[in-house]
């Protein structure tokens, strides 16, 4: 197996050198780098290096998101698989193009973006929209800033907010109820919606899917609360990967144990969210739902564990991370309660992304004040 891949790669290298397809070399390099670790050795002290590398870090985030992705497929039909697949094809394709143009190596960051983004989408989103979203998100969220490591915003959330603003009817107005029995592993839910639908009453219904509002939209419109047990297991309508609290927690814990995500951000985010939700619910229970319901519904857990912990777009100092999480929690409570939007996680995180370098600068200027003479 190993030898076969090595041989075929070497063959391709030799063949590519002569062929007019030479610009595709980054792709081959990426494949080579995927299968085989680099041969570089340390050049100066320290002579030993940590075993960790970005490839492993990023692939572990994908592993952590796997339970949620599988839950999405189970709950909302295996059409979800298409959504994820399209996201990967378009996102990685764009990454390859930029790597070829910039003559850089392909960075593995897109692997993470391309799995997190589809998990934040409504299950019955038109497939072409997934492609448009990930394209715009990676282009404007990452590549225009210079690629992985230079982006200001979380590219997965940029993709989502692009769709959210462009196609609000699709992104907020139509959801399907989770499936029963064997669920989505054997069932496929059709496209619920074509671009034309103007008024929600006229939504055509297709396949086995039944329309339903998300628990948060429900609360906003009618004040009804979904049962906590359903929210915990994920038996509610919502985005592909956000409904099952238990599986998100599982993935999140995995990220924290492996030290990929800093535990401070989820803890401060969820902690401050719980505290503020409790306070505001006490003040105005009509607008602010009870804490337990709010905690388990919507994208809070997914955002706190997978989106806010993105190291590139968040602050890197410890104090900054605490602050980041706390303000994110407060903003989420406020946006959910006071604004016209039912959900506020995405806005809160993107909003705080803007300030993360400022927060870091403040923390560092305090920490190193002895050096500022």
């Amino acid at each position: 197996m190993k030898g076969l891949i090595r041989k075929s790669l070497d063959l391709c290298y030799g063949w590519l050198e002569k062929s007019p397809l030479k610009p595709l070399k980054p792709l081959l390099n990426a494949a080579d780098g995927f299968f085989f670790r680099g041969a570089e050795v340390t050049e100066a002290a320290p002579h030993l290096r940590d075993g960790i590398n970005l490839k492993r870090m990023f692939i572990f985030v994908v592993f952590a998101a796997m339970p949620s992705a599988l839950a999405g497929i189970y709950l909302f039909g295996w059409r979800a698989l298409w959504v994820i697949l399209i996201s990967y094809v378009v996102g990685l394709g764009l990454e390859v193009v930029f790597a070829a143009v910039r003559k850089e190596e392909i960075s593995e960051g897109a692997f993470v973006t391309c799995i997190l983004f589809p998990l934040t989408l409504p299950p019955n989103i038109p497939l072409w929209m997934v492609g448009v979203g990930i394209f715009m998100g990676i282009l404007f969220g990452k590549e225009v800033f210079g690629g992985t490591g230079h982006n200001i915003f979380n590219p997965a959330l940029v993709s989502r907010i692009f769709l959210y603003i462009c196609f609000p009817a699709v992104m907020t107005g139509n959801w399907i109820r989770p499936m029963e029995g064997w669920g989505g592993f054997i069932k496929y839910s059709g496209d619920l919606l074509s671009g034309e639908t103007l008024i929600s009453a006229s939504l055509p219904q297709a396949g086995d899917a039944v329309t339903a509002a998300t628990p948060l939209t429900d609360f906003k419109a009618t004040g009804e609360l979904a049962p906590l047990w359903d929210l915990f297991w994920g038996n509610v309508s919502g985005s592909l990967g956000e409904t099952s609290a238990i599986l998100i927690l599982l993935g999140g814990l995995f990220l924290i144990i492996t030290r990929i995500a800093d535990w401070r951000i989820p803890l401060s985010y969820i902690g401050s969210f719980v505290i503020f939700a409790f306070i505001f619910h006490g003040i105005n229970p009509e607008k602010f739902a009870p804490v337990g319901f709010q905690l388990l519904s919507g994208g809070l857990l997914f955002g706190a564990f997978f989106m806010a912990t993105d190291p590139v777009s968040g602050p890197f100092t410890k104090g900054g991370r605490w602050f980041f999480g706390i303000i994110c929690g407060l903003l989420t409570v406020l946006i959910r309660g006071v604004s016209g939007y039912a959900e506020g996680v995405m806005f809160a995180i993107l909003f705080m992304n803007i300030f993360s370098s400022l927060i870091d600068e403040l923390v560092l200027s305090y920490r190193y004040k002895e050096f500022r003479r």
Partner: protein, 202 residues
């Protein structure tokens, strides 16, 4: 000193020239602009009351068919049977104003005085998000209001289908604009309805 005088003189001359030319242009264009604005309002009003008119000259239909009636609460626009002012009123229209998502939102509501149901709804002025909130201008949405009872609360349903007798389906994704519209209709139409009552009684 001389330089300063020069500056003052040039500034004065330029300003005068500018002011004079603007005044001249304004003189010419002012009546046209005013007529445009009035025509816009009159067209909306005629549409709300479902009165047919010649789109080239809406003033004609307006002058014949509409009676403006100032009351303490505001101006009511009435139409009468056979366009005779002594005959019973067949339609009433009035303008409602409120704050929309981005800017002011005003609309004209036409009523059938017999059962107080809505005859027509016209959006006169709005600055909502194009393609989203601005779709309240679309006919399919406005037509939903026809026949609804203005005295009862009109509910713009955000979630799911409109089922109740006085329910209207919201525009998907434009929750805020839809709810604002509902609020404006339900909250600001009260005085006009009172005025209509007193009109009928009197």
């Amino acid at each position: 000193m001389k330089e300063r005088l020069m500056i003052a003189a040039v500034l004065l001359l330029v300003s005068i020239a500018s002011a004079l030319s603007l005044a001249a242009i304004n003189n010419v264009s002012f009546p046209v602009i005013q007529r445009n604005q009035e025509r816009q309002f009159k067209v909306a009003l005629l549409k709300a009351l479902e009165i047919p008119f010649d789109s080239e000259m809406p003033e004609k239909a307006y002058n014949i068919q509409i009676e403006e009636k100032s009351t303490e609460e505001g101006t009511l626009y009435l139409t009468h049977e056979d366009n005779q002012k002594d005959l019973p009123v067949t339609g009433v229209a009035f303008m409602l104003k409120g704050a929309g998502f981005w800017g002011p939102l005003s609309l004209i509501v036409g009523l059938d005085p017999a059962d107080m149901s809505i005859r027509g709804l016209e959006i006169f002025e709005q600055e909502e998000t194009p393609g989203l909130g601005a779709r309240i201008e679309e006919k399919a949405f406005r037509d939903q209001f026809k026949g609804k009872q203005i005295e009862k609360k009109i509910i713009v349903q955000i979630k799911g289908a409109a089922t109740g007798p006085n329910d209207v389906s919201a525009i998907t994704g434009a929750t805020i604009t839809s709810k604002t519209l509902e609020k404006i209709i339900n909250e600001t139409s009260r005085p006009y309805i009172e005025a209509m009552r007193s009109l009928n009684n009197g």
